[in-house]
């Protein structure tokens, strides 16, 4: 009798544990996404990108006096935090906004870590390949050099007092005029997150 009660309890416990799992589903990252103190989460990227885009477009830094569209090179946004933040999330949103503004074009022929798309150089190496109609091979001296470079860095400062941990991420983004080396736009964005754990440490 006692044996069957124990078995029943174990089965019920197992069923309850299985019931706690949640099947994979799509979520709205703004309201349902995870927020962790140590990392830059999806909603943080969205927030910083939106603020950076607004600041960049409002500054008018992309407008050239000659009316031509500015050519922007996407340089590195260095991650100097301890977390594995994918800074391309920010630069991709910024380049999308620059293109949508109608004031700038981005180049993929040069980048902070070499060309983003090596095809611009590769297709010019076909000039000695008799397999290709030479009239259709892209000519040298036609690629447009960038006017501006977008770069930045992310740093963080972490503080702990008792059971409370606070982490602030500082995003610094700069647009440099490559003719003069001067920054034509720069801005800082901060995100601070705080967490207090219970006495058991979770």
């Amino acid at each position: 009798m006692r044996h069957s009660t124990l078995l029943m309890t174990a089965a019920l416990s197992a069923a309850l544990l299985c019931g706690c799992s949640t099947p994979a589903r799509r979520i709205d990252p703004t309201t349902q996404g995870l927020t962790t103190v140590r990392d830059v989460n999806t909603r943080d990227w969205n927030d910083v990108a939106a603020r950076a885009v607004n600041s960049l477009i409002a500054s008018g830094a992309l407008v050239r006096p000659d009316g031509r569209k500015a050519i922007v090179m996407i340089n590195q946004v260095k991650n100097r935090t301890g977390s594995r933040a994918r800074t391309q999330i920010l630069t991709n949103k910024l380049r999308q906004a620059m293109l949508a503004s109608g004031k700038a074009l981005t180049t993929t022929a040069v980048g902070g870590r070499g060309p983003e798309d090596n095809a611009t150089r590769q297709v010019r190496e076909l000039e000695n390949d008799d397999l290709f109609n030479q009239a259709t091979v892209q000519k040298r001296g036609t690629v447009i050099s960038p006017d501006l470079s977008l770069s930045g860095e992310i740093i963080n400062q972490s503080t702990r007092a008792g059971r409370t941990t606070e982490n602030t991420f500082y995003f610094h983004v700069v647009l440099t005029d490559l003719a003069t080396g001067l920054a034509t736009w720069e801005d800082n964005f901060e995100i601070t997150k705080q967490e207090t754990v219970n006495i058991f440490g979770y």
Partner: protein, 156 residues
């Protein structure tokens, strides 16, 4: 009778203490502003009576950036001040007040224009605090906008 009086007094003191712990924001500004803002005549559609009563839209202004794109600014004040509001927000743990906002942009044909900046953005209000939120159109073709505000469910 005496016990009843003491209980009521203690409850009142506790409530006063809870309210006294709230940090409300006080503001002062010049009586005759020198600015000449281009105000936007707004029309609101509210589905959340709590959010509607807790935030007041003081002004909505429009200007143009050096690049020729429209920029709008909403001046919003948290109405969650006063004895009962502060007592309730203190008890429910909703002080400060967390909301999300988003600007959507429409071109001359009324079509929504996609932008990396139209994500929900967080905003935190202390009781009585006035905040200015700005939205910049993604390009010069944008003519109109919609500002959406909602309570942040992840902050409850």
């Amino acid at each position: 009778m005496k016990r009843h009086f003491l209980t009521t007094a203690a409850a009142l003191l506790l409530a006063l203490g809870a309210v006294g712990c709230q940090d409300t924001v006080n503001t002062v500004e010049n009586r005759d502003p020198a600015m000449t803002p281009d105000s936007v005549d707004t029309r609101a559609f509210s589905t959340d009576s709590f959010c509607r009563d807790r935030l007041a839209l003081i002004s909505m202004r429009r200007s143009t950036t050096p690049g020729g794109v429209m920029m709008v600014q909403a001046q919003i004040r948290s109405e969650r001040y006063g004895f009962w509001s502060e007592l309730w927000s203190g008890m429910t743990g909703t002080n400060p007040y967390h909301v999300l906002y988003r600007f959507d942009w429409l071109d001359g044909s009324g079509m929504a224009v996609s932008t990396a900046a139209n994500a929900w953005q967080p905003l935190i209000f202390a009781p009585g605090e006035v905040k200015f939120i700005q939205g910049v159109a993604p390009n010069a073709r944008c003519r109109d906008f919609v500002l959406s505000v909602r309570e942040d469910p992840s902050a409850r």
